[in-house]
């Protein structure tokens, strides 16, 4: 992972941690949906944070939930082509 990529993912990880003060780390392979770190109420903001960090505009009606399930999946879907 390049340092630019690493800092972008870190930005997303920091946002997740800010929403869950009881946590100290989020693993790249942690299922964010299954573990309820992201739920329907926080999902909208999650997409905004990814857009801001990646520069990619997400089409809200063509969302594949698997692209958001883990940090690895987010990295692959929104950062890999940069």
């Amino acid at each position: 992972m390049s340092s630019a990529l690493s800092s972008s993912i870190q930005e997303i990880r920091d946002w997740i941690l800010s929403k869950h003060p009881d946590l100290t780390a989020v693993d790249m392979s942690e299922d964010l949906i299954e573990s309820r770190l992201i739920d329907s109420l926080s999902f909208v903001e999650f997409t905004f944070v990814i857009e801001s960090a990646s520069g990619v505009t997400i089409d809200m009606e063509k969302i594949d939930i698997d692209d958001f399930r883990t940090l690895t999946a987010v990295e692959k879907a929104f950062f890999a082509t940069r």
Binding site: I33, I38, D39, V44, T47, I63
Partner: protein, 296 residues
């Protein structure tokens, strides 16, 4: 059946009869009631100034009058877009329940509710498409986060009530704001008139559903319900701070703008003002212990 339950059901029946009669008396043709001008002037507010997301903040001072007008235009399109999405979600839930067990009393009024909400969705969508050229999209994702299965209907209708009260706060102010265009005032006035019936119905239904849940729920279940609904309030409030709106209004760093506004010193008071009525009601009937929305 205890006397109390019979009294509550009788009261609910009387309210439903009154609201259904009122729906019939006040019925109007939404497709004829509005005159839609081809365009609305750009050099004016499209939303009451004290309802815009920058109001009272230092960010408002960084924008000139033209930028503030433009921002109010996109914020109003976002507000009506949220209505379109909110109505679609609530219609799905009501249609799932009409004429099913547990909703026998409500079903007659549900017919009026569904009809009126469909019409509201039409005129909000019409406004967005005519004057904004689009409806802001809303992503779907994540778990639905319903904490306890036997509280599902309570959470659904409490969400509907919170959403309607939030919208009504905006509608009732904009309906009488002489600084807004006639078309904007009228859209808000008509919606406010119908919503007063829906809110009256929603309050009674939520109270009945909560009494039912409370009989068997543990203290932990009840706190989970409170936590969920307060998170929903915060989520609904924050949806009015849409970075896509800030981008359309020409703001250089839209997400930073959103973050700054949501952490502005004015935020807590604004949020409490918007939710004053539903907060008081939910505390009064015992769903909420207090008025605090600071859950983090």
């Amino acid at each position: 059946m205890t006397n109390n339950v019979i009294e509550v059901k009788d009261r609910f029946r009387n309210i439903l009869d009154r609201l259904s009669s009122k729906s019939i008396e006040d019925y109007y043709n939404p497709y004829r009631i509005f005159e839609w001008p081809d365009t609305l002037p750009e050099d004016m507010w499209w939303m009451s100034t004290d309802l815009t997301s920058t109001h009272g903040t230092e960010l408002a001072e960084e924008l000139d009058q033209r930028q503030l007008y433009k921002l109010s235009r996109y914020e109003s399109i976002n507000f009506y877009s949220l209505n379109v999405h909110g109505i679609r979600e609530l219609l799905i839930e009501v249609i799932k329940r009409i004429h099913t067990s547990g909703f026998e009393q409500s079903s007659e009024f549900f017919h009026h509710f569904i009809g009126e909400e469909n019409e509201h969705m039409w005129f909000f969508a019409e406004f967005c498409l005519r004057y904004g050229g689009k409806i802001y999209k809303q992503p779907q994702g994540g778990n639905t986060s319903i904490p306890t299965s036997n509280a599902e209907s309570l959470l659904v209708f409490a969400r509907v009530l919170i959403f309607e009260e939030l919208v009504d706060y905006y509608n009732s102010k904009m309906a009488v704001d002489g600084g807004l265009h006639d078309t904007i005032r009228k859209v808000n006035r008509i919606h406010h008139q119908d919503e007063s019936r829906h809110i009256a119905f929603g309050r009674e239904l939520v109270r009945m559903l909560f009494e039912d849940v409370r009989r068997t729920a543990s203290e932990a279940d009840l706190r989970q319900i409170e936590n969920y609904l307060k998170r929903y309030m915060t989520h609904s409030f924050e949806s009015l701070f849409n970075p896509h709106v800030y981008r359309d209004a020409g703001i250089a760093d839209p997400l930073r703008m959103r973050t700054r506004l949501l952490s502005a010193p004015t935020r807590a008071a604004f949020e409490q003002r918007v939710f004053r009525k539903p907060m008081s009601y939910l505390v009064k009937i015992g769903i909420f212990d207090d008025r605090s929305l600071d859950l983090r």
